[in-house]
Structures are given as C-alpha cells and as structure tokens.
C-alpha cells in the first residue's frame, strides 16, 4: 500500500518536472503525505547543517528538572597559542561555555567569557567583526539581560563562522562548530549523569550532527585534518557515534558517562598547548 502510494508520488514528481535540477551527489529520497523516505527524495538536498546551540538542549533540561548550572561552569584556562586551528576550536568551546554561564545567570563568568572571546578573536585576526558582539555581551551582563546575551553569543559564533568562510577558512569555521558542540555535549552528559532518566539521556541522540562533523573533518585540508587535536577529535567522534548508534533501546547511564568522558578528554586536548 505504502509502496504503491510512493510509486504514484514518484511518477507525479517526474511528470511535474521537479527532478530537473537534481544536484550531483544529492541523496536520493522519496516524498509522501504520510510516509516519507529521504533515501528516495527526487528533489535537491541542501547539505548545510545548522548546528543547534547548547541552550537549545539546556532549555529541555530545565523543563525536565532544575539542573545546578553553576556546578556545570568550568574555568576556561587556555594556554597561549598562535595555532589558528586550536584557536578556532577554543573559540567554539568558549562561546558554548558562555551559554552555560547564561543558564547559570552568572554575570561575572559571562563577563570573563566575553573577555576570553575578545582575546581569541584577536588571536584569530577577527576582532573587528567580533568586538561589537563582545561589547554587547559585557553591557548586557551588567544589566542581567540574559536573552540578549544568549542572542549575542549565537550572533558572535555566526559572525566568526561567516567571516572565516569569506576568508576561505571553511575548515576553521567547522572547528568553531565542533568545539562548541563538544562543550555543549560535555555539559549535557554531566547534567544527565547526575540525575539520570531516559528522557534526559535521549537528548544525546544526535548521530546526524556527529556524522556531519566526522564528514567535515574528512574533507578538510591536510594541514587541518592532520592536526593532532583534530585527528583526536575525529577518532573521539567515531566513538561517540558508535555509542549513539548502539543506543537502540535508549542510552544507559554508562553510555552517557562514556560520551561525557570522550567529550571531556577532547576538550582537554583543545585547551592544551602543544
């Protein structure tokens, strides 16, 4: 029944001509009103992935209980480096830490992070585009305007990624996303492990994002891909993906802890100077 319906839709798609500009390498997919199979979609696939900001997950954790976000804040002690790949990873990680501090409504930590953002942006040569956002973060922190700070952290990350892409530094732009995702995931695993429930643990079901990061790293230039930390991240992400794919009947406490340990160890590697 489903199949014949699908065939009818494919036929309709073909006759209406919307397969005419199917992109090379696009995944096939099919469309249906009740059932949809992305593997047979006859249209165009948009490959861009918008990675959720940590606060998207944090807001669910808030609804499921009241985590002690203050306990989740980690002091950012970054070793001085001129290594742009590491700086990009640290930038993403620091912005994600900002989201944790916003969740904890900790003004002083938000301000410290705002200043770290300025230092990192200076190291990356992007201070001109980042300074207005960093200043807005510092100003909003004084007022305790948490929604504005959240928006500015999101905007800061977007500005940095856009600027990197304009400068043909797409690999570094991906590193920003990866650093941010790892820090957000470390927070989520920490909160979930402290008060385990299936609903909380389900928030770690993010295989598409992990596959996206692994795929992005594999396409990076050799100078970035072979960077020791990026190489470690690639291996770590494969371990995390295996845990996610293995959680068919839901995540166990152990699998949450394992994902947390891997994320923490990768974050340590990002922070360290080599």
């Amino acid at each position: 029944m489903k199949r014949s319906f699908f065939h009818a839709l494919v036929l309709l798609s073909l006759t209406s001509g919307f397969v005419s500009i199917q992109t090379a390498g696009a995944q096939a997919a099919k469309s249906g009103v009740q059932e949809f199979d992305p593997q047979a979609f006859p249209g165009q696939v948009v490959d861009d992935v918008v990675v959720p900001v940590p606060s998207e997950v944090f807001s669910v954790l808030d609804k499921l209980g009241e985590p002690n976000w203050q306990q989740e804040i980690r002091k950012i002690d970054l070793a001085k480096t001129g290594d742009r790949t590491r700086l990009a990873l640290q930038f993403g990680m620091t912005v994600a830490e900002g989201f944790v501090a916003v969740q904890a409504e900790d003004k002083e930590t938000v301000k410290d992070i705002g200043r770290d953002v300025i230092d990192l942006a200076t190291g990356l040569g992007l201070i001109k585009s980042v300074r207005p956002h960093a200043q807005a973060i510092l100003d909003a922190a004084d007022k305790g305007d948490w929604s504005s700070i959240r928006k500015e952290f999101d905007q800061t990350q977007k500005t940095v990624r856009d600027t990197m892409e304009q400068m043909k530094d797409a690999d570094l732009s991906q590193c920003v996303s990866i650093g941010g995702w790892l820090r957000g995931t470390a927070s989520v695993t920490s909160v979930v492990a402290k008060n385990f429930s299936a609903d909380r643990a389900e928030l770690l079901n993010q295989p598409m994002l992990v596959e996206h990061f692994i795929g992005s790293i594999s396409k990076m230039s050799s100078s970035v891909k072979d960077h020791a930390t990026v190489s470690d991240i690639s291996k770590g992400l494969k371990n995390i993906l295996a845990k996610m794919e293995g959680a068919v009947d839901g995540f166990t406490k152990d699998s949450v802890r394992d994902i947390g340990k891997t994320s923490d160890s990768l974050l340590d590697s990002i922070k360290a100077a080599k």
């Binding site: 798609s13 209406s16 001509g17 919307f18 005419s20 500009i21 995944q27 997919a29 469309s31 249906g32 009103v33 009740q34 059932e35 949809f36 199979d37 992305p38 979609f41 006859p42 249209g43 165009q44 696939v45 948009v46 861009d48 992935v49 918008v50 990675v51 959720p52 900001v53 606060s55 998207e56 997950v57 807001s59 669910v60 609804k63 499921l64 929604s147 959240r150 928006k151 999101d154 905007q155 990350q157 977007k158 990624r161 609903d199 389900e202 928030l203 770690l204 079901n205 993010q206 295989p207 598409m208 994002l209």
Partner: protein, 146 residues
C-alpha cells in the same frame, strides 16, 4: 570620442552594478521576510536562531534539509522569499517518515509552521516555492525554539 566612450562605459558599469544589486539584496530580503514571520512567535517566547539556510531555487523545485531537534522543545520554522506571488509548501517528517508539522500558515512573502518533536533526533524538512512569474526564487529558512 574618448570622452563619449568613457561615458558609455561608466553608464554601462552603473547599469550592471544596478542590475547586480537587487540580486544580492534578494537573498537578504528573503531572510528579512522570514524574520517578519518570526515576529509574532518571538512575542510568544520563541528564541530565534541566528544561523539559517538560504539560497536560490527553481520554481517548484523541492528542497530537503536534515535538522536535529530535541523532544521537549517546541520549534517554529519560517520560510521567506523576496519574490512576489509565491505559493509555499513546507513540511517536516520524523525519522519514520511521518509528518509532524502543525499549524502551517502562509502569507504573501512567507510561510511558517510549528513542530513539537515526538522524539529527539534527526528530522527532514521538505519545502518548495512556486511562482507563475519567476523561474528562480530566493529563499531563506530560519527557525526558533522555546
């Protein structure tokens, strides 16, 4: 003669720059309209993400985007265009291929819809814009959550 030639060249340059500007502006305009669609949602407590998808597409061409959503959040998606007289189609499917779209609405320059994800995971957004007048349409898709 040289002066006339220079004048013609300058006029041509101005014309070409003028012709190029609307094309550059329309992608941004599409995002502006998606943000216009978001306004009433923001009043209801939705937080708008700064990152969004955009591009140019042939009229009636279907597009597919994979997106991560978290059970417990409510999401709203806003599809904007800079082209007039466009009809929108915007649907979201879960991993089993079941449509999860609720409360879809459209107006002249944008469409919106909401999703309460039944599970945390990957969702597929399928959309198209159709125009009887234009073959290429600029679009922007933004989202928010609460």
């Amino acid at each position: 003669m040289i002066t006339l030639f220079k004048l013609r060249t300058a006029l041509l340059a101005v014309f070409l720059a003028g012709a190029a500007l609307p094309a550059l502006a329309t992608v941004d305009d599409a995002h502006s309209y998606s943000m216009e669609a978001a306004e009433s949602f923001v009043e209801q407590g939705f937080i708008v993400r700064e990152e969004y998808w955009n591009g140019e597409v042939k009229s009636a061409q279907k597009l597919m985007i994979k997106h991560q959503m978290f059970k417990g959040n409510e999401y709203a998606f806003w599809l904007g265009t800079a082209n007039e007289d466009v009809t929108f189609e915007l649907k979201i499917y879960d991993e089993a291929g079941k449509e999860v779209t609720i409360d879809g609405k459209s107006s002249k320059m944008y469409a919106s819809m909401r999703v309460n994800p039944p599970k945390t995971g990957t969702y597929t957004i399928v959309f198209s814009l159709t125009s009887k007048k234009e073959s290429g349409l600029f679009w922007a898709l933004a989202y928010g959550y609460r």
